[in-house]
């Protein structure tokens, strides 16, 4: 595989930003559903604050000095220029990176991304209203699916495709872990008394945010149990957003990227180590050692992997 480091970096970050835009959309959608429930029935007044934490932008929002109202948070997460992780910003960065390496992408993949950006750009600024949030989320979600589909169907299975997928997998792992970290106090071990309807809706929100609501019912045929949610999102290799599934993909992509030259470096080693750690543990051990600590370690490991990729491929 012959490729400029700069090209590799742009593809990697295109993958990451598209994945992040998708996560933000699902987070907005799931939070809106949670917040719209009457509080007696499980509606959560802190839902929007939680969404800010899950997006990892609580500090950035605090810096704006706004009240965390639905309107303010929605605007912040969807289109705000002050938020480096807003949907609009993610798409802008994804498109910027993709444009820099336009010829590494196929026409179909580029058009899906470019079209999404132009549509979202129209929502931006003062013209954005609460009522159009659903429309925005829907547009971006469809665009991301279109991009993934175009990449899957039209791109050569080579360095460009692998870097794109590698970036997406690293970001996906990060998003799932951060979502779990925000809700870790809800993820109780087996046999712990199950909370009321409030908790139930929180868990459903978690599942919805990672598009796992149907998967959960399919796999467990059970009501939503916190330890099963944690098990599904960390250890189930059938669940595409689970940490273990993301890492299996990361290891595979890095193997593909280094297969030609045989040159294996820190990224290969780090990824294999993290995957092995996940394979060597299980949900009961995680609860025994503390979910928060486990997720904290994972997030640090994942950041280390990002740095190792940059080091190995000279980004």
């Amino acid at each position: 595989m012959q490729m400029l480091s700069r090209t590799a970096a742009s593809l990697f970050w295109t993958g990451r930003y598209i994945e992040r835009a998708d996560f933000m959309c699902r987070l907005l959608d799931a939070t809106a559903r949670l917040a719209s429930l009457p509080s007696t029935y499980g509606g959560d007044p802190t839902a929007w604050t939680g969404a800010l934490s899950a997006a990892g932008v609580a500090d950035a929002f605090a810096a704006t000095g706004l009240e965390p109202s639905e309107a303010a948070v929605t605007h912040f997460l969807a289109v705000s220029a002050d938020n480096p992780s807003s949907v609009r910003h993610c798409l802008e960065r994804a498109r910027g990176n993709a444009r820099a390496v336009r010829t590494a992408l196929t026409l179909e993949a580029w058009e899906a991304l470019n079209g999404a950006w132009h549509e979202v750009d129209r929502f931006a600024g003062p013209r954005f209203t609460q009522g159009r949030m659903g429309e925005l989320v829907e547009t971006v979600r469809r665009a991301v699916l279109a991009f993934d589909g175009a990449a899957h169907r039209t791109m050569l299975r080579g360095g460009a495709y692998w870097f794109l997928q590698l970036g997406a997998a690293v970001e996906r792992a990060d998003n799932t872990a951060r979502l779990l970290d925000v809700k870790y106090h809800l993820l109780l071990p087996r046999d712990e008394a199950v909370g009321g309807s409030l908790d139930h809706f929180q868990w459903v929100t978690v599942l919805r945010t990672v598009s796992a609501n149907t998967a959960y019912r399919w796999l467990y045929r059970d009501t939503v149990k916190p330890w099963l949610v944690a098990d599904l999102l960390i250890f189930d290799s059938r669940m595409p957003r689970s940490l273990i599934c993301c890492y299996a993909e990361i290891v595979e992509r890095l193997d593909q990227l280094t297969h030609g030259s045989g040159k294996r470096g820190p990224a290969n080693r780090t990824a294999v180590t993290i995957l092995r750690q996940l394979q060597d543990t299980d949900i009961d051990k995680v609860f025994a050692a503390g979910v928060h600590e486990f997720i904290g370690r994972f997030l640090a490991d994942n950041a280390r992997l990002g740095a190792a990729v940059a080091e190995q491929f000279l980004f």
Binding site: G262, R264, R276
Partner: protein
């Protein structure tokens, strides 16, 4: 049986060793009684790792380190489905059986071993091989202290003691002196006890049947607990790891090998 292998070998060097290279024959191939479900070979150091097949058809991973190393860990993890074929191995063979009549130094029989081999009761080849395995099992006692990796067949035969490698070498040397092609197999034996599980045995060529695996140390033909990894004329051809380096002083080696029946998929 589904066998899971988890195997870590760590070399420690007294001083940083330069130009470390390793030739690893640690990845099994499929044959009729064996299917590799998943397999990974990782070297925990930066460098070039390439996989190819050697002359005998074994997977050979060559690793060359980028920098001087003070330690090197090779980690091998995988799962293989093994069926009991009563020892018969059917797979693509790059060489005619006659090639395995050649005897390199480790399997060169001395007159005493030749004389002992010649006493094997006459009969069809398969019966002779079973007779040879039974006699060898009688003759040798298992002793991990008596020999080293460099001990030749005739030397271990004189001591009448050794490990699986020596059983295999003596079996091979005897079979070849009877005119039967034989070869060395390195692999794993799935165990229920905690004993370390790198193992070696021999294969001999039986007309009309093909290659048949004889594990003289356990006096059995290889069954569903024998995971076959690499073959060759002797230990040196099939050794899991061979390497070279410049400098580094004293070398220490620690090996942890586990091969056992794979757990069922976790379901709850």
């Amino acid at each position: 049986m589904r066998i899971r292998v988890d195997h870590a070998t760590t070399y420690g060097y007294e001083r940083p060793a330069d130009g470390v290279i390793q030739a690893l024959r640690v990845q099994p191939r499929d044959h009729e009684g064996q299917r590799v479900a998943n397999w990974r070979v990782d070297v925990e150091a930066d460098g070039v790792l390439r996989a190819r097949q050697d002359a005998f058809g074994n997977w050979l991973h060559l690793f060359a380190a980028d920098q001087p190393l003070t330690s090197l860990t090779v980690r091998v993890v995988g799962e293989v489905e093994v069926r009991d074929m009563s020892g018969v191995v059917r797979t693509a063979e790059p060489f005619a059986p006659g090639v395995f009549l050649r005897a390199p130094p480790l399997t060169l029989p001395d007159p005493a071993l030749q004389a002992w081999a010649a006493e094997t009761p006459p009969g069809p080849v398969l019966d002779r091989l079973h007779g040879l395995m039974a006699r060898l099992h009688e003759r040798l006692s298992f002793d991990t202290q008596a020999t080293t990796v460099a001990t030749a067949a005739s030397e271990a035969f004189t001591h009448a003691a050794g490990v699986c490698q020596d059983y295999a070498h003596i079996f091979i040397a005897s079979a070849r002196s009877l005119g039967i092609p034989a070869r060395y197999v390195s692999g794993h034996l799935a165990r229920t006890d905690a004993q370390e599980a790198a193992h070696a045995w021999a294969e001999a060529f039986v007309p009309d049947l093909g290659w048949v695996a004889f594990d003289a140390a356990n006096r059995v033909c290889a069954g569903e607990t024998h995971l076959r990894v690499a073959v060759g004329l002797d230990y040196l051809d099939a050794a899991p790891m061979r390497g070279a380096r410049r400098g580094g002083g004293q070398e220490t080696l620690s090996v942890a090998v586990h091969a056992r029946e794979a757990r069922l998929q976790r379901q709850d």
